[in-house]
Symmetry: D2
Subunit: 290 residues, 4 copies
């Protein structure tokens, strides 16, 4: 609907003149910047930048932008990504038995909220096949156990490659990915590629059965956390969190029910931020440019 834009994300050692350097590069090529945001982390001496400009009238063709940005990044000793607002990356959603997060994501794709395609749903239970079918996604039923995890992940990685998947979303997958999986699929720098939704406001209630433990502790709010997946369980950089108030009348089943809304909201928000390239990772945390 809106005119297509290019988005440059850059992370590099901080030094004076970087905003001018980056905006100057865009302007020198006739680009009209529609959004520019930056952050300096003084403790780490890092500079993070996100610049978005209109493609119409820009002096460089799309295919030339990436190499030029690479040269810029090399000169600044930084990492970078270039993206276009009208691009729809292929995304795989990993699920188990619960349908709410999957359905919510697929509905948001259909409604235009999430600029992505979902050609592939991977599941360790067969339950959600009809939902994948209904939204035109392949459904790969790959039961995972301690015994076959290596093999199952190898098959998952094949499927990801086959469908040219650029982002994996764990939508209540309830399984831990191995370091090996991450080493193969994930990106090692500021631009992670696996998002998980955990059903607590991390770092509270890491690990299994957070709602049961929240009930036991008697907390007055529960929450959900969308984060990038790293080797550390529930320890990856947090993208979005949401909470909801609970009371003494709420049983574990109520917490699970109310938590579903938190999970849907935090996950949808995180995925949208990721797809619009509004998230960058540094020092185990995220900058979110809104």
């Amino acid at each position: 609907m809106s005119a297509p834009t290019a988005i440059l994300q850059m992370i590099c050692p901080d030094q004076p003149g970087l905003v001018r350097e980056l905006s100057g590069w865009v302007a020198a090529n006739g680009g009209n910047i529609v959004h520019a945001d930056h952050h300096s982390d003084q403790g780490a001496g890092l500079f993070l930048s996100r610049i978005e400009w209109q493609l119409e009238g820009f002096g460089l063709p799309r295919e030339a932008i990436c190499p030029t940005a690479r040269a810029l990044a090399e000169r600044l000793d930084g990492a970078y990504r270039v993206n276009f607002s009208d691009y729809r990356p292929a995304v795989a959603i990993f699920v188990s038995k619960q349908d709410h997060a999957l359905l919510d994501l697929l509905w948001r794709v259909r409604s235009g909220e999430l600029p992505m395609r979902v050609p592939l749903v991977i599941a360790n239970h067969a339950d959600l096949e009809p939902i994948a079918a209904q939204f035109g996604a392949s459904f790969a039923y790959l039961p995972v156990s301690a015994a076959n995890r290596e093999e199952a992940e190898a098959r998952q990685l094949e499927l990801l490659a086959e469908h040219q998947i650029e982002l994996v979303i764990l939508a209540k997958y309830m399984q831990v990915l191995t370091p090996r999986f991450l080493a193969t699929f994930d990106s090692p720098d500021a631009f992670h590629r696996v998002i998980n939704i955990h059903h607590s406001f991390l770092p509270a209630f890491q690990g299994a059965q957070p709602y049961h433990r929240a009930w036991e502790r008697g907390v007055k709010l529960i929450g959900a956390t969308a984060h990038y997946v790293t080797e550390e369980l529930d320890g990856g950089p947090i993208i979005a969190q949401s909470t909801v108030a609970v009371g003494h009348r709420d049983e574990v089943a109520d917490l699970i029910r109310m938590g579903r809304d938190c999970e849907r909201l935090a996950l949808a928000r995180a995925v949208r931020l990721h797809l619009r390239r509004q998230v960058m990772v540094y020092r185990g945390r995220t900058a979110v440019f809104e």
Copy 2:
């Protein structure tokens, strides 16, 4: 301003007919119930009740209500409290160097939000003496260290007895009370008497420096938790929690600043609920009757 009421809190083993029994007792004495709330915890087989009725026209004089309620509680094998809405208990506030929680409580007392008196402020630093003076409270400066903790607490307990204190509020006191202190001052059953404000959304970031650790972890929300103090550090029954969204631009100093508002709100809410006898403790958690 409003007509005075009596409030009965009761916790006892669950059995059919308890609502009728309690409301019947009030009605049989001509009491007009203005609020009645109950909760059954089926896992523990417990019944919790709070009944509030107008004193005007009630058949029993104030001094006869408590003994009658005690007989009722004994018959039901329960614990109980009776309170009157126009009663203003004496409360001691324990502080260290930070003034915001103390000031907020004292202002709310003055404005009529908190039905209590504050004759005594106890501090392990001298900084806040002028504030206590300004609101007419005695200020007891009792430095506490590992070496003199026992002695200091003995003096604190003397002061509490002297001022007939019924509730202790730790308003950023930054010290741990010993089991011995609690054994002497606190009530062992459903009606605790020491409230603390912790500067995180528990159980996340228990212990020291929660804002620093929240910053390190990169959470997208911070919070505060008001809870009853028990022997377990930051593990007592939670009364109220509040949170606020933070972002990557917020430094630790910003978290501390924003957290102050969370702390004030959660603490004020918890104290008001406690004073209006809307809180009961069971199974390490609270029922909050609003």
Copy 3:
């Protein structure tokens, strides 16, 4: 899943002894009360009550509860409703072109969050027929215009009668119901039967295009309001409201997108409260017993 309960809602002139009277009636028949809540509106001299008790072991059979309650209500000069927690009333959802509210309700019915059946979807556009079909609901396409409104509503009322509909939900129906429709279908007392979701935090932005007007006004939060429908446009008793923060970068399209989540949450909450008989109307407002 949980054992079935009976729920009595009663609204009557206030007088002493009502809590005992109602709880006594339940207890006299051997009922174990699992939840009891009451409210006295002193300005209007009204008493509102909701009592829920276990059917197992209750002395009266289901079919005898309602007549007995009616006699009680007559004696108290009040209005009442009796409901059973395992009952699933037939509900009709009215829609236009937007799918999110309809889908969300149907998902929540399927997941067990909303104790109701949806045999009928009525629409003034044909777009959402596939969704109705997919969830097994009849889809009645009845275009409405100024010219045929009377006729269309007559047909709607026929369909409601045919499917024995007990609740109508306007899920972004974008049409006003006539007084005549309400006079026929709605209940005139404390127990309304038509719920609407309006896309603003009422009373702000009543009427058409609230998101456009919210953007124009430059508000920092937008919201949604679920309310019972009365003859006064967007003026009926409010059941639930939700809000979300917005900023200067959010265009009208963003407000619409973010508002969809508010609408889904407020509507789902209101419908659940209604179905669990937690809502009563008095003086143009609701008491919500949670």
Copy 4:
């Protein structure tokens, strides 16, 4: 505590190259940008920018920055402001009888949250004189009525001039300022100088007694709105809003009590944003650069 910075705010017609132009001007003088944010309003063809850079090492002395920025603004046909982070402007607080907003602001000044001085409190009732005295502010008691409004405002303007006041905060002043007052004191462009706190989530409940009207309407949330004052009553650009949930048990007095917290939070947030030059006004609305 942190090293002092300069802040340039600029609003001008949009055109390509503006980010480069502004950041280039800073960089050309050796400035290290610590924060830069921009917004293009495409409907109005406007560009808004806020750039903050370290003064240490900057090539221009402080007194030369403003004239240079003026030349830049003239060339871009825009309006601008230059500010320094270590500057503490003189602020006057207008009050009536309620103390909570005044006290909260003064506490926040003392705690370092709000970079300003408060040499002057103006009141139309004498009640709050002790508070002004306690924080070292002059207290001007100027009763205002329909009969003497012109005269009283003339005296107010004299006092503002005398104390070199740069910002007026109406902290529950409960009086309307005349167009004449605004014409004299306020700034006519993007940088208004009078902030009011209104006790509703505008545009709901504009005008008098919003809490009473909120209670009458039966809303499920109440709120507060901090906004710049313009000639249109409660119609000025909104800076911050906050809300809190209410229920059927809350009487008007409870709404007033709970609203005080909303008012304090929204007002403190707005004043801090204003003082840090994070707010700019365009088209009757604000951009808030955080």
